[in-house]
Amino acid sequence: MIKVRHYAIALSLLVAMVFQIIPVPVQVDLYRPDWVLIVLSYWVMALPHRANVGVAFVSGLALDLLLGTAMGVHSFALSVSIYVLAANYQRLRNYSVWQQAVIIGVISALYHSLLYWLLRLLTDVAFRFEELWPVLTSMALWPWMFWLLRKVRRQLRIT
């Protein structure tokens, strides 16, 4: 039990990464929420001394490898997004879950625009509005992930 407690955050991030890259049909792929960003957001708000910009940076590097982008692109975008949450975690904790969902939507939009801008610098990719669908699906997913991860945290007494 002690082992699971210590590795719970890393394990949850690993599961999030699996969900991030799991192959699905092209039509559904467009709506894939930002799993890693959501799980990281929860841990940053709940335990800011455990998960922080450093963890975001490392998970970003893993995402870069998994998704085949240039090293550092996802780590840059994740670090900035998680920094915004970590700097305001005391205020965000007091919001209701629905208000938090809106904040997550804004953060997700920031994350996707950062990704687009960085990739735009490297290659000439074109912006398409369909690529902002994950903002909405992430917002919809947040309440459920919040309840699930809070349950995990309380059950395992992760501090």
Binding site: M17, I22, P23, G54, L67, G68, G72, Y83, V125
Partner: protein, 288 residues
Amino acid sequence: MDTIFTRGLSLNLRLTLALAMSVMLIVLDYKIDAFSTTRVFLNSLISPVQYLANLPGQLLNVSAQRLTSQQALISENEQLTNHILLLNEQLQRFEVLEKENAELRRLLGAPVRKDMRKLVAELMAVDNTPYSQQIVINKGAIDGVYLGQAVLDERGIVGQVMEVGTTNSRVLLISDVTHSIPVRSIRNNSRFIATGAGVIDELFLTHVPHSTDVEVGDVLVSSGLGEVFPEGYPVAEVTQVLRDESRPFAQVKVVPRAHLNRIKYLLLLWPESAPTEPELGEEGESDD
């Protein structure tokens, strides 16, 4: 952040550090290409996650195979047997033609084309970054896969290998914005460069003068000029030609012959110009 939780570095410093390192990595990776050898090792490190993500799909496949009815199997078998019969008939004619072609080429003094090594690979993962078109296949340095190797499906060219891992490798599709392929029209042998448009089923031809003879329906095959792709494999078909005189070049849209969004089995080719010893394979092993 002045709270009781503050330990170690301040949040701002952490962000600065993370961003500085990210920017450094981007520059190192993209501009100097410093990761080309370490990526083999890093990819092997991360591949368990890929296998894990691939597991549900594979389980589904296996259970679907177990649960197919005998009726369906029999009809599929019949269909495949018919297909083989038709293909064999074509092959008979092809053999004669190949011999004839080789003889004619010998008469002309042109080099005779030789058969090359092939290997069937299976799709492992599709990349879901909307800005890049890449797939992961289940063959790597162990199988002799090399950087820049041509990848095909049963209908045409799919892309080229861009990263080699120990047991899997990453393929850049011809529809990616950073990918271009030299092609030639079957109808009149005019040469073009087909560049990906960043959408799965669209490419376009760059720098086509208005006077060029190109029509809707023209089939484009690889010209073999870049020495990356072997010559003569179908690449795309012209779907739209826009000759707007106010623009410097004609705009030609083409559709890839391969079903890039429905890939399952792929073919890896080893043309004669391929490195005989897989250079990355040895490095991958020495890294471990």
